[in-house]
């Protein structure tokens, strides 16, 4: 994933394997991992000749921002998804908080 984030252009599995040359990974291993990342909606792939080129859906910073939004957002159905140290916000104040965050 790190390799895809730092790359400027979409990479093939072979490119990723080369970039991770120090780790001695088999091509199938790289493909398996890329497939798993694709299923999780983190990378997309497009066909190019006989190979697929993979690129990340969003930057590392975007994903961190998404996590922070999850963690701070007061949306009602996220209330049950995680438990914050500072507790939940009463329903009538949620809209106000959302305005503050935007």
């Amino acid at each position: 994933m790190e390799t895809l984030w730092t790359a400027d252009e979409p990479l093939t599995a072979r490119d990723v394997q080369d970039a991770l040359a120090g780790r001695e990974l088999a091509t199938t291993t790289v493909l398996t991992v890329l497939g798993r990342l694709e299923r999780k909606g983190l990378v997309t792939r497009e066909r190019e000749g006989r190979a697929h080129r993979y690129r990340s859906v969003a930057s590392r910073e975007d994903h961190v921002a998404e996590l922070m939004r999850d963690a701070l957002d007061a949306a009602p159905d996220r209330g049950a998804a995680l438990a914050r140290f500072l507790g939940s916000i009463p329903p009538d104040e949620r809209d106000k908080l959302r305005d503050l965050l935007d």
Binding site: M1, G41, A81, A83, I89
Partner: protein
């Protein structure tokens, strides 16, 4: 049967409104958060049973003198349903629809919650780095201080880099002790039904009261557990530093709730005497038993 239905209806309405309001306004729950959580669950369960039961009992009344006998008659000959008059049929339909709606909403919210958690966990595992000072905790590189846990079978404890900047190590340990209490006691499961039904029926005041009260009670419980494991001063220090920096600090209700939590840790109210604690738990059991007996009594 009609009398039983009326009794169930009265019980359900009492639990949904005056009892919920009274319990939300009561002072003793802060002296026994666990007992109070049990009572809230009992109120929710008994209230639901009573309201649904009232509709079903009234609806099936023409088929037998008690609910079990009416159900037996119905199972023996399903065409008996034609014997129900309009009002009885309407009551039965309303109860069945309400039951379907309650189950459906709970299932939908559970599904959405699990999906949101899985997505969040996938990203965390990719982006957060393990924090060596505490096993199981991960650090997310972001300056806004936030500490939370992701409950579930594969739970995660998360601190943002902002927390590590704002707090000294003992305070961080206090935060982690608080979050671990949420995880260990599966507070997410306690909260889930209240969130599901409270947010889809905000017009029922009792449900909203319950949702807010239960959310406050699990924080009290986690504070109690944390304060027993670390020095209370470290917990209050962590709350003060994080509370002042939180984006929600501009909300008056947020700071008021924070002050109440701080006050409770600094000057803990005396725990309920053992006898009263037993009484509270017995009352919770009795609350659920009452509509169950009314429904099943031969």
């Amino acid at each position: 049967m009609e009398l039983t239905a009326l009794g169930l209806l009265v019980l359900g309405v009492l639990l949904a409104e005056p009892v919920s309001r009274g319990l939300a306004a009561a002072r003793w729950p802060s002296r026994d958060p666990v007992g109070a959580l049990l009572v809230w669950q009992a109120v929710g369960l008994a209230g639901g049973l009573a309201l649904l039961g009232a509709g079903i009992v009234y609806g099936l009344a023409p088929l037998g003198p008690t609910l079990p006998s009416a159900v037996r008659a119905l199972l023996a000959d399903p065409f008996d349903l034609r014997l129900l008059g309009v009002t009885h049929a309407l009551a039965l339909i309303a109860a069945v629809l309400l039951a379907g709606w309650l189950v459906g909403v709970l299932a939908a919210v559970t599904f959405r919650t699990l999906r949101a958690r899985r997505r969040h966990r996938d990203l965390l595992d990719l982006l957060a780095t393990p924090w060596p000072a505490a096993p199981g905790a991960r650090v997310l590189d972001h300056p806004v201080p936030v500490a939370y846990c992701l409950p579930g079978m594969r739970s995660r404890l998360v601190l943002s880099a902002g927390v590590l900047d704002a707090l000294d190590p003992p305070a961080v340990r206090a935060v982690l002790a608080h979050e671990r209490a949420h995880l260990r006691e599966r507070h997410d499961l306690v909260v889930l039904p209240f969130v599901a039904w409270g947010t889809t029926a905000p017009f029922v005041q009792g449900m909203v009261c319950a949702q807010v009260a239960v959310a406050a009670l699990i924080e009290m419980r986690a504070d109690d557990v944390a304060a027993a494991r670390v020095a209370p001063a470290e917990l209050t220090g962590a709350l003060r530093s994080m509370g002042g920096a939180a984006p929600a600090a501009a909300l008056s209700s947020f700071t008021a709730a924070l002050d109440r939590r701080l006050h409770r840790i600094v000057e803990p109210p005396p725990p309920l005497p053992l006898g009263l604690k037993v009484l509270v738990r017995a009352a919770a059991v009795a609350l659920v038993a009452l509509p169950t007996l009314l429904l099943l009594a031969p």
